[in-house]
Every structure is written in structure tokens, then in C-alpha cells.
């Protein structure tokens, strides 16, 4: 990504160790972005009746109840969101240019361009972006493009009462996150680890990254996501070979026993 201005890349650091599961982020996001209702379901999955990120859920609070050795219960709560990847699968495969990279380094859908082809949906290694059935187009977190453009913070971060969701320049957030992990480990929380902070991972690091207290898959996150387009050069090469075989088969079929019908 080339810098077009001195605007730093902006992102989210979601520190799940201080999430209290209040879902203020889910509500604030819906209110600000006019995200329609996603159904009144009782999922029977702890306090989670939202289930997953979708076209109509751009922040999702996960609740995990883990039995501990001492007979007590450990609560894990985590507010998930679009990762705004450095190498974004959704953005790469979008055939219309509806998905684009903003000046803040975030990934946003232009709703007046999207024609609902749906290609971005299976291209996201995190299962974030989705199609709104009655509308036909795809929707996801914009990192409140309208708010941050006006110098405000995204609605979810603004509403978070414990600063579990922090918004800011990505460099600063990463530095702060590393300090936070070191503090937690020093205090005996040896499970603490960052997720998505590594610029060398399969998506080049994420603009929205997390501090987790267990393996990513426990929270419904992929443990080693890779942007599908990383292998696209190899794929085109294999397709070119297959196309060559296609032509060769055609030539062989007509050349065989020339003149004989």
C-alpha cells in the first residue's frame, strides 16, 4: 500500500482481557450504521444470541464458559469485528471495484457499486463479509468511515465502557498491545497472546487485532488465516497449463488419422 498522505493507518486493538460482555459495541454499531435487525434468536450458546458476524452484525461479542481445574468457571468474552487485513481477500477478488482501501488503510464496500456477485463472501478467511439477502449486496464493518473522517472514533470504541475496544493509529496500538501482553504475563496471565499483530502472517497483519486468552479457534477465529490470493500466481500458472492441455487434446483429436472420418 502506498501512502498518499501522511495519514497513518488506523485500526482497532480489542483487548479481550477487559471485555465484560455488555454488547454496547454491538448496539452502538447497529444504531450508528443503521444496520438492520438480524433476528431474535435464542441460540443456547451462553449469553451469545447474536452468533456470528454477518451482513447485519458488524460487531459480535463471543461468550465462552470454560470449566477450570478448581471447579470454578472461566469466562472468555471477546468482541469480534472485520479485521481490515493488509492483504484483504475480499478486496482482491471484488470484480467491480466496490471494495476499496481507504486513506485510513481500512477496507470498505461502496454500496452504490456492489452488484451482489458474492465473490468476497467465501474469499474472506475470517468469514466476516456476507450478503444481505433482501438487499442483494454485501455489508461489513467500515471502521465507521464517516466518523473517523470527521475526527471521531468509531461508534463501538466510543461506546465501550472498559476500553476493551481501542481505536487509533495502528503503530501506537501495536506498541500498547505488546506492553499489555507483557504486563499480563508478568501478572501470571500466561495465556495472554496477540492475534493479528504480526505483519508477516498470512494476511500481512490485520488493521483490527486482538489480545486473546486462549487459542483463536476457541473464539471462532482461524488459527492461521491466509489470504486466498497469496497463491493466485500459482493458480493462473496451473490454469495456463490446463488450457494448453485443452488445446493439445483438440489438436490431437482432429489430427489423428487425417482424412479419415
Amino acid at each position: 500500500m502506498t501512502a498518499v498522505s501522511d495519514q497513518p493507518r488506523m485500526g482497532f486493538f480489542t483487548d479481550t482481557s477487559v471485555c465484560i460482555g455488555c454488547k454496547a459495541c454491538e448496539v452502538a454499531c447497529k444504531e450508528w450504521n443503521h444496520v438492520p435487525d438480524d433476528g431474535y434468536a435464542f441460540l443456547g450458546q451462553s449469553y451469545d444470541n447474536t452468533g456470528e458476524l454477518s451482513a447485519d452484525t458488524w460487531r459480535h461479542v463471543a461468550f465462552i464458559e470454560q470449566p477450570r481445574a478448581d471447579g470454578d468457571l472461566r469466562w472468555l468474552m471477546s468482541s469480534d469485528v472485520c479485521k481490515h487485513c493488509t492483504h484483504a481477500g475480499c478486496l482482491d477478488v471484488c470484480p467491480t471495484g466496490a471494495l476499496f482501501r481507504t486513506e485510513f488503510g481500512t477496507v470498505v464496500v461502496q454500496e452504490d457499486i456492489c452488484n451482489g456477485c458474492g465473490y468476497c463472501v467465501p474469499a474472506c478467511p475470517y468469514g466476516v463479509i456476507d450478503q444481505r439477502k433482501d438487499d442483494g449486496r454485501v455489508w461489513k464493518c467500515t471502521l465507521c468511515y464517516d466518523r473517523i473522517g470527521a475526527g471521531m472514533q468509531p461508534a463501538c470504541a466510543k461506546a465501550c465502557p472498559t476500553e476493551s475496544i481501542q481505536y487509533g493509529p495502528l503503530d501506537e496500538l501495536r506498541e500498547r498491545a505488546h506492553g499489555r501482553v507483557a504486563d499480563l504475563v508478568a501478572a501470571g496471565v500466561t495465556d495472554a497472546r496477540l492475534y493479528g499483530d504480526d505483519p508477516d502472517d498470512g494476511v500481512g497483519g490485520t488493521g483490527a487485532f486482538f489480545l486473546l486468552l486462549d487459542e483463536p479457534e476457541v473464539y471462532g477465529l482461524p488459527p492461521d488465516p491466509v489470504v486466498p490470493t497469496r497463491d493466485l500466481g500459482l493458480m493462473w500458472r496451473r490454469a495456463a497449463l490446463a488450457a494448453g492441455t485443452f488445446v493439445a487434446a483438440g489438436v490431437a483429436a482432429f489430427a489423428g488419422r487425417r482424412g479419415g472420418r
Binding site: 477478488v93 471495484g97 451482489g116 450478503q131 500459482l234 490446463a242
Partner: protein, 313 residues
């Protein structure tokens, strides 16, 4: 005999067993159907060019008409599948090599005009209008056809869907073989027996290509190969293989003598080609629905890296 997986079920964690990925939102009839009709359009364009250059007028005529008809069905299916069909023209708003769908939109656009001219020239009205253009147009369509027949494999492989993504080395060959066998089958179905020899040979070559590539793919894939063997997808792919073998054998033997055998062979090959596309489509969807296929291979990679890191002094 029912096949059983010899791979032990992987241990993995998940969030209430929920999928990690979103499954494709494409309608199977539209998109798997398009993979079939697009392959037929491409394979028939190749056959039409061969028939034209070797002086087989009936075969040329049926292949050109089949190619353009299949392209028409493809176009309808693709536009119908869009969430906003009225915005289909946005597909040509940009040219994006990172998006196989963008590449495919331009390929289909490049294919449509010459394939249309070649088909029209087979009808009395079109012959008067495009008479001299028929051969160059047919050859131009055949030049784009190999890309049309194979890019759809790249399109599905370039996703996070585990059983599609991991299949990228072989799937273009499966699709190319399926396109050849299916269109050769339709050609045998629609052309007179005396002109059938090249189509019968192409049916044999395409079937062999598809079967070998599919065998290699399923043998190599391990855990994410499971969806190609199990459930509805597995049943369709097994049926496809049986019909491919039966169709190819019939095409190569009786199909070159008896009209009835040619029709039967052609029908089996066309059905097999369609079943392959629907089976591959369903296998991908199944692999996105079950979190084990996304999580287990990734967890394995992480542990592999950790072992390497720990082994360092």
C-alpha cells in the same frame, strides 16, 4: 460398497461448532450450472474450429450453435445469480487481474462477439450478413475458449473455502477435461455419425484428463479431500466417474458406427460433465460449513512451525 474414511477425525476446538468461514452465497443451479455450460461453450468452440478446418460442415454447424446457446444460458445464469442483476454491467467497470471473476467477465465479453458471429453465420440470415467472417470469428472464439474452460477453476480455488483452495494444482485440469468430454459428448449427440471420429477421440482424451486429474487431487488432499468423497457431493462425483468411463468407452467403440450408441455415449458424457461441476461445487460448500476443514489444517501448520522453532538451539 460404502467407502469409509481412513483418516481419523481431527481433534480441534471451535466456537460452539459454528463455521469459521461463510459458505458461498451463490445459487448452485446458477453457478455450478454455469461451470458446466461455460465449459460446453468453450469446448464446442474448439470443436467447431476443428470441424471447420478439417471440412466437417455438419459438425461445425452443430458445435457453433451449441457453443453460442451454452454461452447464452451462461449469461442468463450469471446475471440471475447477482444480488443486484440490474448492475451486471459493473462487472466491466474495472479490469482486475487479482479477481478471477473480473478476468472471467472480460474473457466472456471477448468470447461472446466472435462466438455470436460464428453461430449466426450458420443461419440463413447470418450467412448473408457475416459469410466471410465466419471462419475468422470461429477461430477467434476458439482462441479464447481454453481460458474460458479453465478460469472457472481458478475462480473457486481463489477463495478461503478449504476443499477448493487446496485443490488449485489439479482442479483446472479436472475442469478442462470435463469441458472437453462434455462438449465432445454433445457433439456426438448432435452430429451425423460419419463426422463423429474427432469428437469420439476428444471424448476419450477429455475423460482421461478429467479422471486422472481428479484421482490425483483426491489422493493428495487428505482431510480436505473428504468432502469430495462424502455426502451428496461424493455421490455426484462417483456417478460422474461411472458415466465418464461408460460414455468414453461407448464413444470410442460403438459410437463411431451406430447413431443410437453415439447418442447414448454423448448423453452420458454431457451428464457426467454437469455432475462433476455440481459435485465440486457441493464439496466446497460442505468444507466451508464444517469448521474442522478450516481449523484443523491451520492448527497443524501452527504446530509444525512451533516444532521448528523449538528445535532451534
Amino acid at each position: 460398497m460404502k467407502e469409509r474414511s481412513m483418516v481419523p477425525r481431527a481433534e480441534f476446538s471451535s466456537y460452539y461448532g459454528r463455521p469459521v468461514l461463510k459458505k458461498p452465497v451463490w445459487a448452485e443451479l446458477d453457478i455450478a450450472g454455469y461451470f458446466f455450460t461455460g465449459g460446453v461453450a468453450a469446448g464446442s468452440a474448439l470443436l467447431a474450429a476443428g470441424a471447420d478446418l478439417t471440412g466437417r460442415p455438419s459438425m461445425r454447424r452443430s458445435a457453433r450453435l451449441t457453443s453460442f446457446a451454452a454461452l447464452g444460458v451462461s449469461g442468463v445464469a450469471l446475471v440471475h445469480d447477482l444480488g443486484r442483476p440490474e448492475r451486471f454491467a459493473n462487472m466491466l467497470r474495472v479490469m482486475k487481474p487479482t479477481s478471477p471473476m473480473s478476468v472471467g467477465s472480460w474473457l466472456l465479453t471477448a468470447f461472446a462477439a466472435p462466438a455470436g458471429v460464428a453461430a449466426a453465420s450458420e443461419l440463413p440470415v447470418g450467412r448473408r450478413l457475416f459469410g466471410g467472417l465466419a471462419r475468422p470469428a470461429g477461430l477467434a472464439a476458439a482462441a479464447v475458449a481454453p481460458a474460458i474452460a479453465t478460469y472457472t477453476a481458478v475462480l473457486v480455488c481463489d477463495t478461503a473455502v478449504p476443499s477448493w483452495h487446496a485443490a488449485y494444482p489439479e482442479l483446472p485440469f479436472v475442469f478442462a477435461g470435463s469441458a472437453l468430454a462434455g462438449s465432445a459428448g454433445l457433439s456426438m449427440l448432435l452430429s451425423p455419425v460419419p463426422e463423429n471420429a474427432p469428437a469420439a477421440r476428444l471424448a476419450l482424451l477429455g475423460s482421461a484428463l478429467e479422471l486422472v486429474a481428479a484421482q490425483r487431487m483426491e489422493g493428495r488432499l487428505g482431510l480436505v479431500g473428504e468432502p469430495y468423497r462424502e455426502g451428496k457431493a461424493g455421490a455426484k462425483l462417483r456417478a460422474s466417474k461411472a458415466l465418464t468411463v461408460a460414455g468414453a468407452v461407448a464413444a470410442a467403440t460403438l459410437g463411431r458406427r451406430s447413431r443410437l450408441a453415439a447418442v447414448a455415449a454423448g448423453g452420458m458424457l454431457a451428464a457426467a460433465s454437469a455432475l462433476t461441476r455440481f459435485g465440486v461445487f457441493e464439496a466446497g460448500v460442505a468444507s466451508a460449513e464444517d469448521p474442522v476443514y478450516a481449523v484443523a489444517p491451520q492448527r497443524e501448520r501452527v504446530e509444525q512451525r512451533e516444532r521448528v522453532t523449538e528445535a532451534r538451539p
